[in-house]
């Protein structure tokens, strides 16, 4: 078991290394990609600032707190993109028959798909989120204690897993319907926009939905409560500790569903 995991990791890193090399071949596209993403997110941040300039605050959240909330979501999303973003192409792999090719190789097709690409372009967002995070940290005069750094780390890993699992879940739809790209835009984009704001501005049922069913609240909102010492919200900051376990559990569920989809694909074809 351990041996086959190590072997899988070795194959993963080798394939990912090749993917990085390929992307670096197109140097111009590579640089533009990074710059483009960084600019896009900076643009959103500026819009947010303009809005807050006239409103003052949203539900007790100041501009710098909102920037922090936003940057935390972008941070884990950028890692998700690096690792998982190509899952939204699953339908292409299936329709074009590329997926069959993965199945005649002696590794798990999930490993094959995830190792196909390592999207270095997404580092632009990572860059933005780190800079934004540092500015917000200084402006808010935060001084995290050790447990808060752990929550922060848990939010990054857990958030990456939660959003990555969403992509895996959406890609699994392609096994049944041979379409997943549209589902990606219909689900992932609204969900990500939702995360730019404190969850408490939304109706109760949405709050419950993104806490218990599709646990986006654990990506940034709940850990931000802990990290910003916000105790006057309807959620207890205590929830922020659970990003990592929730991420792991959600990933396990989505991976299971992906495998069910694979079984369906094997019996029904495309």
């Amino acid at each position: 078991m351990l041996k086959s995991c190590l072997r899988g990791l070795k194959i993963y890193f080798y394939m990912v290394g090749v993917s990085i090399k390929t992307q670096l071949q197109y140097r111009y596209a590579f640089v533009m990609n990074i710059l483009g993403w960084a600019m896009t997110y900076a643009g959103t941040a500026i819009t947010m600032w303009v809005m807050l300039y006239s409103f003052g605050s949203i539900r007790g959240w100041t501009f710098w707190e909102l920037l922090f909330l936003f940057a935390l979501a972008v941070l884990s999303w950028s890692i998700t993109m690096v690792l998982f973003f190509h899952f939204h192409n699953m339908d292409e792999y299936i329709v074009e028959g590329t997926f069959d090719r993965f199945l005649v190789r002696p590794i798990h097709p999930f490993l094959h798909v995830i190792a196909l690409k390592f999207d270095v372009g997404a580092f632009g967002q990572l860059l933005f989120s780190i800079v934004a995070m540092i500015i917000a940290y200084v402006q808010l005069k935060l001084n995290w204690q050790f447990y808060q750094w752990l929550v922060f780390l848990g939010a990054i890993i857990g958030g990456t897993l939660i959003q990555g699992s969403m992509l895996v879940l959406i890609s699994a739809a392609a096994f049944w319907t041979t379409r997943s790209e549209r589902l990606f835009w219909a689900l992932m984009w609204p969900a990500r926009n939702l995360m730019n704001y404190p969850l408490t501005v939304f109706p109760r049922f949405i709050q419950l939905l993104v806490t218990f069913l599709l646990p986006f609240a654990f990506v940034n909102f709940l850990p931000a409560l802990t990290l910003l010492d916000k105790t006057k919200e309807s959620f207890d900051p205590f929830w922020g500790f659970f990003s990592l376990p929730v991420g792991i559990a959600f990933f396990a569920i989505c991976f299971k569903i992906w495998n069910l989809g694979l079984d369906h694909y094997k019996s029904a074809g495309s």
Partner: protein, 338 residues
């Protein structure tokens, strides 16, 4: 026991019926109706080590579906498959190590990478020992001249080069069995010949069992001793290629150009099957008449300008089988069809 055993293999697909109009589309969201399509219907065969078998049939006959089940991509609806003792859909990964697959229409190489990178990736994925890898690469290089394009990205390769790279990639991990789906499709004559001689070579020298699907009957004639012919998911014929040719070689066609137009041509044992100007196509049975006999008989009565003899092509025979939905026994008894 033979290398590949297929017993009463069936595969059914459920296809969702499309309903018309907007209301139909809405209704089908909640309540779908399915039609069942039987792609493979009770197929049985066995293939021994070192054989080279042509698996042929028209589009939609069930060829690809069978290959997909043999390679472990699809799970059969019923029936049994053993590939070198393994059940492909249950032990897909172990099975993958003992088979090589080439889908002629699409490459299994990494599109954006220099060709050599695909080989290196496969080396990692299949965990090919470095020595084995080096030996194989050296050999394939020698026969297929891979060197000339190893540094070129796959997307820039010509079709012939890509097929050479693809077949080398499929053989890199020393598979026992090679599945070739349309390996010569779209290739020019020279590239086709090269591909065929490579397939022959690895079959002969390495003992690799080859299963080949193709639409090009000359692939079959030049490569395979045995042919499995399927249509509508069923085996129509399974046996030697030469047997078909011998049986059908019984009827031959004599093409005669006469000096002048003849309206009332007739001769015993000869049937005029086509005419065009002064040219006649005459069908006869080789076992009853010899060609020279006929020619002398005809030349006694008429002035002949030119003459040629045609053997029926395997392609014609197969087309007949498909068009008339015959089993081979029927074709053998009804010889007037050719």
């Amino acid at each position: 026991m033979s290398l590949i055993e297929v017993r009463h293999l069936c595969k059914e697909f459920k296809i969702a019926k499309r309903q018309e109009g907007l209301t139909g589309a809405l209704r089908s969201l909640f309540h779908r109706q399915y039609t069942t399509k039987i792609a493979v219907n009770d197929i049985s065969f066995s293939i021994g080590t070192g054989e080279m078998v042509g698996y042929i049939g028209p589009n939609g006959a069930g060829k690809s579906t069978t290959i997909k089940m043999l390679t472990g991509i699809l799970v059969p609806s019923s029936g049994e498959i053993r590939v070198n003792g393994l059940i492909p859909y249950k032990e897909r990964r172990r099975n993958a190590r003992q088979i090589g697959v080439v889908f002629g229409q699409r490459t299994q190489l990494w599109w954006d990478l220099p060709t050599i990178e695909s080989f290196e990736l496969l080396k990692q994925i299949f965990q090919i020992p470095p020595d084995r890898y080096r030996q194989n690469m050296a050999l394939f290089n020698e026969i297929l001249d891979l060197d000339e394009f190893l540094q070129t990205p796959v997307r820039q390769l010509s079709l012939g080069q890509r097929m050479r790279a693809d077949i080398a990639a499929a053989l890199l991990h020393d598979p026992k069995i090679l599945f070739l789906d349309e390996p010569t499709i779209g290739l020019d004559v020279v590239a086709k010949e090269r591909m065929r001689s490579f397939i022959r070579e690895i079959n002969k020298n390495r003992g690799v069992t080859v299963i080949l699907t193709t639409h090009d009957m000359s692939d079959i004639e030049k490569l395979c001793q045995r042919m499995i012919l399927i249509d509508k998911g069923q085996v129509m014929y399974d046996g030697e290629l030469t047997k078909i040719k011998e049986t059908f070689g019984k009827t031959r066609i004599l093409i005669v150009d006469f000096e002048e137009n003849i309206d009332d041509f007739s001769l015993d044992g000869v049937e005029v099957i086509k005419q065009e100007g002064n040219r006649r196509w005459l069908k006869f049975n080789r076992e009853v008449h010899t060609a020279s006999q006929l020619i002398s008989q005809i030349s006694e009565k008429y002035e002949i300008k030119d003459i040629s003899i045609q053997d029926p092509e395997i392609e014609v025979l197969i087309r007949n089988i498909y068009e008339h939905n015959y089993t081979l026994d029927q074709v053998f008894t009804d010889k007037t069809r050719i």
